[in-house]
Symmetry: C2
Subunit: 246 residues, 2 copies
Amino acid sequence: MSGTAGPGYDPYAFEPFAVTVDLAVFTVRGGALHVLLIRRGQEPYAGAWALPGGFVLPRESAETAARRELAEETGLPEQVVAALHLEQLRTYSEPDRDPRMRVVSVAFTALVPDLPEPAAEGGGDAAQARWLPLGQAPDLAFDHAEILADARIRIRSKLEYTCLATAFCPPEFTLGELLSVYETVWDTVLDRPNFRRKVLTTPGFVEPVPGAARLTGGRGKPAALYRAGPATALHPPLLRPEGPTR
Amino acid sequence: MSGTAGPGYDPYAFEPFAVTVDLAVFTVRGGALHVLLIRRGQEPYAGAWALPGGFVLPRESAETAARRELAEETGLPEQVVAALHLEQLRTYSEPDRDPRMRVVSVAFTALVPDLPEPAAEGGGDAAQARWLPLGQAPDLAFDHAEILADARIRIRSKLEYTCLATAFCPPEFTLGELLSVYETVWDTVLDRPNFRRKVLTTPGFVEPVPGAARLTGGRGKPAALYRAGPATALHPPLLRPEGPTR
DNA sequence: CCTGTTTATAGTCACAGTGACTATTAAAGG
DNA sequence: CCTTTAATAGTCACTGTGACTATAAACAGG
């Protein structure tokens, strides 16, 4: 122990902690929810998969550190990282969660549209960064499996009462793409006309792209293009069929 | 490390941070939402009001620290603190939020039933601990005003889609008491029969106290007693009249 | 060129949940 | 007693949703 803080506890004799950030970055690709993982290049857990993240620097907030780490460790374009929807999940502070030392980690959740495979930059902290589908996620380092599970629960729930699903879509998208985001994240099948009605009657959820642009080239009838509207909350919510837990 | 990252950044040369917890503890008393505040006995901000909280000890998780600090700094009975509904709000990590040093604080929200005025224990960190109504909350130390505002938004929102309101009530309560919790936290007036219908038709929200116990002594017709049921979520939610923001 | 497949879009109908409202019951207090 | 207060019971119309049918516009393949 630090020799200072005994049972006669002095508030100034605080224990120094390391503070890190961890990121659960999700995307929807090919009908499956994917998470961005890196393969660790060093001990502990060298060779294991982990969430991207790292230490918070002396003059950074946790959110600033999260964006910096994401840019450093993954090949995500600068522009994408800066505009990313980033949200605090929670802070993980169990005393033995890192074998090296006392580390408290602020976890974040981020959603991005489907992107090309990230290229870890030459000397990055991570040997590799890859999108892996949640169904076949490997064992993760530290308590990252718990963080990832918590993040997944959170985003599944947030699709219900926020407009967050559009964060998984490119700037312009069809209602069919938005529908498949919901179906993928919730792992359900939704009724297409009902989904359409709900989205279109919620003010500010999506707005049509001017010029009556339509997306063709796919198999069926060309779909109208929309972009995300100004609304952030969904009232009333768009509840998933099974209820809130799953 | 791998000689890459920016200005010679070495992930092992981490900055030591102090880690603290801060608590926004709410109760409903006399038709007003109250928060538990302490008057600081030492610098910085000596004499100012602040949220209860303190440093996380070497072998504690943040949640353990939160319960310990609450017991130490306030007169809340041991039993109450142990059973408290405690929930992480978020972590505040702006570099200059504490003038002394780099402090990252994990904020928690807690709800308790109306209790007698807490008595700060003799040697506690705080000179005083008092319940103050949110309407007349004084200026707070550090960024505690921001934390308190965030906590208030959170609980107002959580009443909509969780059964959390019962945490403000004693073990046995009437539907009128539960109604006034909602009306106080949301600062609205709700229709009594409709509220009753909603609560009673939501499975597991409340369950009647066996023996047909009734509470009399008040002015009107005696009310049936209920206790909190096993449900935690409210589906469909109980939306407040004005919408989600306010 | 026709036909089947696929996806988008339009519309209908019944039902559940809710807001607004009225009525009745059971206590306390002058 | 009669009034006041609060609890409880019930009604009615409207909104949003789930389930379902129908039509339109593209492509694929013979």
